[in-house]
Assembly symmetry: C2
Homo-oligomer: 332 residues x 2
């Protein structure tokens, strides 16, 4: 019989379709493998083509050239110039679409991907994330910063060159408010941060752990929305990604690389998204909010039921997927 | 500059990416056109193959054979037999996956689609929806009934034979609770049903109307989440789809067919989902809840930003898309 599980963090229920569930290895990507070149003349993100992109807001430079470049998105979803203006006309509320939309070019190499990068390179990407996060936090127009990655077509990108993005929005999205409120209610009811509680339970149960390190724990949540949906939680209770310490950042680089490499080797380079779930800009350290990273392999499609109910049907069993990833050896 | 608009019904904000917006005709489906046969020997939904599917829970029969068949899903997301059991183990809450999962086979013809059906056939589908909705409402294990359609691969189906689905869940999904609460707050603040208010405003503005009839209004919402996202609202304030009257149902058949035909001819048979947004089973007629149908063409992909923020970036302008559909003539 299928099972319904509550995702404690969001309070949303998920259908774990046990009978329809596929074995972990059945989720292997079926996309055609393309051998990509290290350099592509026409790629705007490849070295030598810097003039094809807007000016840099941040760069990590080495003797041989840049390692990471952060640039404004050439086709931004939100405009960086302009005032944050709210308008009300009858029942309609609207505002100027100001914000920040940046692209983090993760490597000079066209064909590299996080899973195959030296840990040092992943660290550089995280340094760029933190740098831009802390800088944009000071922009008074910005209420929320979302850092995310789209890898592969099912994940919403057709650009091959490894990159991620940052969008700063001039308001706090409704979903973020709802989730923070649920975390606050959990804290009010139990006196504990729900994130801290979940980590503690996962480390005791040990059924869904994918990887752990000194400062981070990676696991598949009990109420995972979709196959191989994975969370990376800092052990230390801290609300904002911007507060990550150097030693934690160093450690996170290795954890992120390891988990993505397990997915890469285990499922043949599946398309995926990840995003950093941090707090709104105007919120400081809160006893009830815990930042984390959510990795979402795009192995299935949402359909009418998900749109109609907001609920997900997960056709995998979290414990099985976690076991598969835990045992997946990756070359170093 | 892009614009942020609030979707009044859900209180969620949407980025209308005006500069990145494509012209309505640019959203035309690029999928390869397949000529489908009227009958396919191996299709379990084609007449003559009734034995390949479970027993019917409802049929509309004519002299020549059945017009619509409702059957239990052979691979259900929720099991129809069994008790609704809740369990709490430590921090984990779970329950038995009981519920209803049915398939509505919409026509005996393998290659028909709602957009091309005689209105009479669409009426039969709606009759089946109402029939099953009212019947399942009496199942005490069921808290919410979602009726939905997946058309095409991007919408989550690979089955060609025209069909839709019904899932009855043993709990009320969190998203539904949130949305109903927002509607209640709107009512408490203004004394009006937000649905009634939106219809009134759309009929005055006339900028986003796609089609209107005696009992229904079809329009693209001011804060549409995605290109050609369309709402069909009954003019009469009524909370439950199950309360639809015969004359309204007759009228809805023609409106649904018309809107889907405009999409079919205007965008070359795009993949789409639709769902009926009704109320939880334990809620009766409420002054603040208004049922409706949401049609969501699957023309773009959600990526890391949407997953991270819960916000959508709409790369079309609702007024332009509505104008395009409004003026699209369809053969009758």
């Amino acid at each position: 019989m299928p099972e319904l599980r509550q995702n404690l963090l969001t309070r949303e229920w998920v259908i774990i379709a046990k009978e329809r569930a596929r074995r972990p290895e059945e989720f292997k990507s079926k996309k055609e493998k393309k051998e990509l070149p290290e350099y592509k003349k026409e790629c705007p993100f490849c070295p030598g083509n810097e003039k094809m992109t807007p000016y840099e807001s941040f760069t990590i430079q080495e003797k041989k050239g840049w390692k990471v470049r952060v640039i404004p998105n050439k086709f931004p979803a939100l405009a960086s110039e302009g005032k944050r203006d709210r308008h009300i006309e009858g029942i309609h509320r609207f505002m100027s679409g100001v914000g920040i939309h940046e692209v983090i070019i993760e490597s000079p190499l066209h064909n590299l991907t996080t899973a195959l990068m030296p840990v040092e390179d992943v660290r550089n990407i995280l340094v760029a994330y933190r740098e831009r996060y802390l800088k944009i936090l000071k922009d008074e127009r910005i209420e929320m910063i979302i850092i995310f990655k789209n890898h592969g077509e099912s994940a919403g990108t057709s650009l091959e060159h490894p990159h991620s993005q940052l969008i700063g929005t001039p308001l706090v999205p409704t979903m973020i408010r709802y989730r923070n409120e649920e975390a606050m209610r959990y804290f009010d009811d139990t006196g504990e941060c729900v994130g801290c509680k979940i980590i503690k339970e996962e480390l005791t149960a040990r059924k869904r752990i994918v990887w752990e390190s000194e400062y981070f724990v990676a696991f598949i949540p009990y109420g995972a929305y979709s196959p191989f949906h994975t969370w990376l939680f800092p052990r230390r209770h801290v609300s904002s990604f911007g507060s990550i310490l150097d030693k934690e950042l160093e450690d996170l680089a290795s954890v992120l690389k390891t988990v993505l490499a397990k997915l890469y080797h285990g499922l043949d380079d599946p398309d995926f998204n990840y995003c950093i779930r941090s707090i709104p800009s105007d919120i400081g350290q809160m006893d009830y909010l815990h930042w984390y990273i959510s990795i979402i392999p795009r192995l299935t499609r949402t359909a009418g039921f998900e749109l109609g109910s907001g609920m997900f049907i997960n056709t995998s069993v979290p414990e099985e997927s976690a076991g598969f990833l835990r045992e997946m050896n990756i070359p170093y």
